[in-house]
């Protein structure tokens, strides 16, 4: 195969090449790092270079005489003959003269991304085409990894921003109380209002305690992402049993009735953190019940996740505020005990495990169900060496 004219770019007119350059062109063809494949106008492979043999896993001898569409996965495989026929008829280039990203098919059937440019060779009334192919697998992988990292960083940044915002607001609040009532103390003494003085000292002490517990919560929340125990297969059954044991005193004093479904799945994660999820949810269910609490704990398998739930028949949540319950220091009832960290902590732990946490309630007085998804343990493959 000796090219007389070679069209490299659609906009460049055909160039006549003197015969003595054929040897040089042969050397280019053989030594190129990119794959090069020459086909005739029927799509039949005429010649391939060593780079193409390596890239596609075919030998030159095997490929020669085959239709080039064997190197293409669907739908290119089926459509290539049509492209070629259309070009020969209309001379409207789609690939010729301009490169494009397409998918190629290796001899073993795997697909890989390539950057393809095509040149046209005219000799007399015959045409052939040179495909120049670069394997861009690594480049695509790097791009995907970069996009993933950027998305992850953006999410982390947004989370940090929310966190800073909440923390700065909520920590400032007790500080205002402390400073405000400290300056009131002097006035009370001056006016001889000793009852007010004592009451204000109480407010100051309570605000200082609140500040201290908020700081503990913030540290706890920030630890979740940073300090992780290595993931292990965790049986939800034993996890639930452990948490109920831990909370037995609270459960007894509240006379809570707790129903646990049989045959809970095995999940994968940080056992200590997962236990904190359940502990928080059971405590919440008890806290937000009027009368003896009734709590159901269960899970179902959905794909590669376990969707767990803790359901109570307690005070419920107005559907309008249901998304706010997971916010840090968010309390729907300002008078309820605690700082409002519980569900923020739950969501954070679940998200660190790659799952989701959400709440459902039919409305005030009609109970609440908190759902959370966790990755299932890889059954049967757990012994596979890594």
């Amino acid at each position: 195969m000796h090219a007389q004219t070679l069209l490299v770019q659609g906009s460049i007119p055909p160039v006549s090449l003197p015969d003595q350059s054929d040897l040089a062109l042969d050397a280019v063809f053989e030594a190129a790092v990119d794959a090069m494949i020459i086909i005739d106008q029927g799509g039949i492979v005429q010649r391939v270079n060593p780079a193409a043999e390596r890239m596609f896993g075919w030998s030159a001898a095997e490929l020669r005489g085959q239709n080039v569409d064997v190197l293409m996965p669907s739908p290119y495989h089926e459509e290539h003959a049509g492209y070629l026929a259309r070009y020969l008829e209309t001379h409207e280039p789609h690939v010729i003269g301009s490169g494009r990203d397409v998918t190629a098919r290796h001899h073993d059937g795997t697909r890989f991304p390539i950057f393809l440019s095509v040149g046209e060779v005219r000799h007399d009334d015959q045409r052939s085409f040179v495909g120049i192919i670069r394997d861009v697998t690594k480049q695509k992988e790097a791009e995907a990894a970069r996009e993933g990292l950027i998305a992850e960083l953006e999410a982390k940044n947004a989370e940090l921003e929310r966190f800073t915002y909440t923390v700065s607001h909520d920590l400032k609040s007790p500080l205002i109380t402390i400073k405000g009532f400290v300056s009131q103390l002097e006035r009370s003494v001056a006016k001889g209002k000793m009852d007010r003085f004592r009451a204000d000292v109480g407010r100051i002490a309570a605000a200082a305690d609140k500040l201290s517990s908020l700081l503990d919560d913030v540290l706890e929340l920030s630890r979740i992402g940073r300090i992780a125990n290595p993931p292990e297969d965790v049986s939800l059954e034993s996890l639930v049993a452990g948490v109920l044991e831990l909370l037995s005193a609270t459960i007894q004093s509240s006379t809570a009735e707790i129903v646990v479904e049989d045959e809970l799945p095995v999940v994968r994660g940080d056992r200590v953190r997962l236990s904190e999820i359940l502990q928080n949810l059971v405590e919440n269910a008890i806290k937000f019940s009027e009368g003896p609490p009734h709590i159901e704990i269960g899970a179902r398998v959905e794909g590669s996740s376990a969707v767990c739930h803790v359901r109570d028949r307690g005070i419920g949540i107005d559907p309008r505020y249901i998304d706010r319950v997971f916010g840090l220091f968010e309390q729907l009832d300002g008078a309820s005990p605690g700082t409002g960290i519980g569900l923020a902590l739950v969501r954070r732990i679940v998200e660190v495990h790659g799952g989701k946490a959400w709440a459902e309630s039919a409305g005030p007085g009609r109970g609440t169900t908190i759902y959370f998804s966790l990755p299932l343990a890889a059954t049967g493959e757990s012994s596979r060496s890594r």
Binding site: Y165, H169, K172, S173, I176, T177, K179, G180, F181, Q184
Partner: protein, 143 residues
């Protein structure tokens, strides 16, 4: 000067802050009756619930971060009602975040005040804002 006492609505979930604000207004001698709503829902009930015309405030202090309905939502609801639009709303919050400030002004807040940490500044700030707006109300014949 024989004005009826001004009706002030304080929307504040934090009991201690509410007490401080009340004392500051007292110390300053603001002539008025103070009503308090502990969350956004209670504020909306006060403003739009049954008999709301009687209670309609001359002046509103509004915290932003509130249980149930947040302060920005309360602000939007106030300013979209023709009969309430002219009631001055001063956002009184611990948040100095730009987006809160921007959202509040987008919703036509009359003043945005970051709660000062020390009481003297809080007192001074409350005096200044309430004096200004109550005087403004009277001059413009709102009440």
């Amino acid at each position: 000067m024989s004005h009826p006492p001004a009706k002030i609505l304080l929307v504040e979930d934090n009991d201690d802050h509410a007490e401080l604000i009340e004392r500051a207004l007292d110390d300053f001698g603001v002539e008025g009756t103070l009503s308090r709503a502990k969350d956004g829902e209670a504020a909306l009930e006060h403003l739009f619930g049954e008999g709301c015309e009687e209670r309609r405030p001359d002046f509103i202090f509004l915290d932003l971060r509130l249980p149930r309905v947040d302060g920005l939502e309360v602000l939007r609801r106030i300013k979209e009602r023709p009969e309430l639009r002219s009631v001055p709303v001063v956002v009184l919050t611990t948040s100095s975040a730009d987006r809160d400030l921007a959202s509040a002004y987008d919703s036509h807040v009359n003043a945005y005040v970051v709660k000062p940490v020390d009481y003297e500044s809080l007192e001074k700030m409350l005096q200044d804002t309430s004096t200004f707006w109550l005087a403004w109300n009277r001059r413009s014949g709102h009440k």
